[in-house]
């Protein structure tokens, strides 16, 4: 109790005063949570408030955020090549920034990090790990982390999973993400094994193989008898659902109770159809990206994305003016992760190119004191602006994946034409009724569809949106389990 009380104080000091995390204390905290759960079956009252970060009123939030932003800006200006030249040109003193000044610092485009990731690493830091994005387009972006950062993130993730009860020592966790997604895979697997659960990585193999592993019976001491937690991408989950239902699998063949799904737009249709295969599972959705890791968003029960304000600054910026958006207006997320969560490579105002709308209070959800946005609408470069407003990848995917006639994941594309957009999509079988149903579903979601092209062969699609499941990892032919 004393040990765990000290660990809690040390943790609170990092959260409140942005001093680096102490790995030993984090480790003690994990032990404390495990022991508490084992003894009492649950954590004490107030544990969610304690671990969820401080509840800040608007004024304190701005105060905390500007102080942390300044700290990160000073480090960036003094210790990184990229920002030292930028601040010199700007003529701004990073230690005297006000909240209003933040908008004067130009956003950091993806291109800058892509071209020279080393220029973002702080002098004097000790980078140990270079991770690259699994990006669906072009050259991957790199970010450097220290060994401490990776360990701390793994432990913080373990604490978060334990606190929410999403992963327990009895779980068997299947990770079906790209084997090259080293950052996410490393931190997640470290968290899982620290909790005491079992994990294995399948990679993005033939879905039949992944399903065979998922339905395998286990007889491990103290563990559930089947894989109980699946971590994957939306499109690959779609492939699993499609392949599983076609192969005659049903909920009785699986023991999955939680599916952590992310990296792409997760649609209601996907979740509904997924339950046909796996039964009643709980979906865990979050938002994170390599460049701004580990500052990300958590989903609340009302479907907002929430960002913990002491971990980083989220701005929603009008893509045309690069200024803060107005209420209800769509913008791209511009993100600054703060210390102590980000130590080696610093990014200020990183342009994620992800579109969302801000959500303003008062909110009634459980994370109401965190900054809130709508769910992701899609990448800016994939969205289309028509005379009557934006068309987002989310609208298209939601419309298509809600229909059984469209195989999962929906393989589709859309582009601007006179008076609206043209949409193309792969379907099981082309007939007139499906054409009407798709058109109707798109219109219901506000897509001004003027032309609709259906294909039975996905390879015939001309403008297909990229899907992570297509980063397929190959196996020797003989090792694929035949169903």
């Amino acid at each position: 109790m004393f040990e765990s009380a000290f660990a809690q104080l040390r943790y609170a000091a990092s959260v409140l005063f942005a001093v680096p995390f102490d790995l030993r204390s984090l480790d003690r905290l994990v032990d404390g949570i495990l022991a508490t759960k084992q003894e009492f079956g649950s954590l004490g009252a107030d544990s969610a408030e304690f671990l969820g970060g401080p509840e800040l009123d608007e004024e304190t939030r701005r105060d905390v955020q500007i102080r942390r932003f300044r700290k990160q800006a000073v480090r960036a200006a003094e210790e990184t090549d990229y920002y030292s030249s930028q601040f010199t040109t700007l003529g701004v003193d990073p230690s005297r920034l006000t909240f209003e000044d933040i908008a004067r610092i130009p956003v950091t485009p993806k291109k800058a990090l892509l071209n020279n990731p080393d220029a973002f690493v702080r002098r004097g830091s000790n980078p140990a790990f270079r991770t690259t994005t699994t990006g669906t387009t072009g050259k991957p972006t790199s970010v450097y982390f220290t060994a401490r950062e990776i360990q701390a993130t793994g432990l913080l993730a373990a604490i978060s999973f334990l606190q929410s009860g999403q992963i327990t020592p009895e779980d068997i966790v299947q990770i079906s993400t790209s084997s090259r997604a080293t950052l996410g895979n490393t931190c997640f697997s470290q968290a899982v094994q620290r909790i005491g659960a079992v994990w294995y990585q399948t990679g993005l193999v033939d879905p039949a193989q992944a399903l065979a592993l998922l339905s395998e019976s286990h007889h491990l001491p103290g563990k559930k008898n089947r894989a109980s937690f699946l971590n994957t991408y939306a499109s690959y989950l779609g492939e699993l659902v499609e392949c599983g239902l076609n192969s005659g699998y049903s909920p009785k063949d699986f023991g999955v109770d939680h599916i952590s799904v992310g990296g792409e737009i997760v649609t209601e249709g996907l979740k509904r159809r997924c339950r046909k295969l796996f039964g009643s599972v709980e979906f865990i959705q979050s938002y994170a990206m390599t460049e701004t890791w580990p500052f990300g968003a958590t989903f609340c029960e009302e479907g907002h994305l929430h960002f913990e304000p002491s971990q980083g600054l989220l701005e929603i910026v009008d893509p045309d003016t690069a200024q803060p958006g107005k209420p209800g207006q769509t913008g791209t997320m511009v993100v600054t992760p703060f210390a102590p969560y980000r130590e080696a490579s610093v990014v200020l105002r990183y342009d994620t190119e992800d579109l969302v709308q801000p959500v303003f209070g008062p909110l009634g959800c459980s994370l109401k004191h965190w900054t809130a946005t709508t769910d992701l609408l899609g990448k800016l470069r994939l969205a289309i602006r028509t005379a009557n407003g934006w068309v987002y990848p989310r609208q298209i995917r939601e419309a298509l994946e809600s229909l059984e006639e469209v195989p999962l994941p929906a393989r589709c594309g859309f582009w601007a034409i006179e008076g609206g957009v043209a949409v193309e999509v792969a379907v099981r079988k082309i007939d007139s009724s499906i054409r009407n149903r798709i058109g109707q579903s798109l219109e219901e979601r506000g897509v001004p569809v003027c032309e609709l092209y259906l294909e039975e062969d996905p390879s015939q699609l001309q403008h297909q949106l990229p899907l992570r499941c297509d980063l397929r990892e190959i196996l020797f032919e003989r090792s694929v389990i035949k169903l």
């Binding site: 109790m1 004393f2 765990s4 508490t36 084992q38 009492f40």
Partner: protein
């Protein structure tokens, strides 16, 4: 002498039984994260060794401040789950503490008044401290280890060194003095039992009940009270004057733990509440 024995024994029995009833009826607020563990046993032993030395070394006013702070906080968290409304908890806490301080410090008050009040305050404190430990996940194993270590310490401190005698003399009549006592005659010597011994006697039935079931708890209560009863009798008949209570209680605790652990594994709080839900 007989009256003093009856008064002390009455307080001992009442505190042990009240602690037992409180354990089943009230849930104290536990910290969000943390379980009583062996590290805490070690910390307690260090405190048991250091705190008496502090009491002997510090100026008397500082000892009074420390005792009062400890007394106030123990009273507050003991009443918290019982009275619920925070002003009511403070009211009861402050009235009790005020009465203790007043009868101890005001001049020209018969010391019997102080003993009467302080005995009640200590009785409540025993209920609070034992429940705080047991409800924080203290295991029977921890209590047995603590008991064994204290038996050794008590033997050295009370019998071989003048430490305990000095301590009792020093704390005599101070507010929140950690003893339950009653004068033997008008001249002043009194019969008493230290708070630490009483806490160990009262906590053991709770952790044994949690660990091994109701019977184990009742046996622990019977053995503990029986031992203290016999000790008071032997004082009454003049066999001893000062006796290290833990020297008897410690081995008794170890024996009971050894008996039960061979028959069934120790339950966690969660398993105990699954098997014997409260309310």
């Amino acid at each position: 002498m007989v009256l003093a024995s009856i008064v002390v024994l009455f307080h001992v029995v009442t505190s042990v039984i009240l602690a037992w009833l409180y354990f089943r009826r009230y849930t104290m607020t536990r910290p969000p994260i943390g379980v009583f563990n062996l590290g805490d046993v070690a910390v307690m032993l260090v405190m048991v060794i250091l705190v008496p030395l502090l009491y002997l070394m510090l100026p008397i006013w500082m000892v009074i401040v420390l005792l009062t702070l400890a007394g106030l906080s123990i009273l507050y968290f003991t009443w918290e789950p019982v009275l619920k409304s925070s002003w009511f908890i403070w009211l009861v806490t402050l009235v009790l503490a005020g009465a203790d301080l007043f009868t101890a410090l005001a001049p020209d008050i018969n010391p019997v008044w102080f003993l009467a009040i302080n005995n009640i305050v200590m009785l409540i404190s025993v209920v609070g401290v034992t429940n705080l430990w047991a409800q924080s996940g203290m295991k029977a194993r921890h209590a047995a280890i603590l008991g064994a270590a204290l038996a050794v310490y008590d033997l050295i401190a009370t019998s071989l060194l003048p430490l305990m005698n000095d301590l009792f003399a020093r704390l005599d009549g101070l507010p929140f003095a950690p003893t339950i006592a009653w004068p033997i005659n008008a001249a002043g010597p009194w019969l008493g039992i230290g708070l630490g011994d009483l806490v160990l006697t009262a906590v053991f039935p709770l952790v044994m009940r949690k660990a091994f079931g109701r019977m184990a708890g009742i046996f622990a209560m019977a053995f503990g009270l029986g031992a203290i009863g016999l000790l008071i009798l032997s004082v009454l008949f003049g066999f001893v004057e000062i006796f290290p209570v833990m020297v008897v209680l410690g081995p008794l605790m170890v024996c009971q733990y050894a008996y039960w652990i061979q028959r069934r594994p120790e339950r966690t709080t969660w398993q105990y509440l699954q098997a014997e839900p409260t309310k």
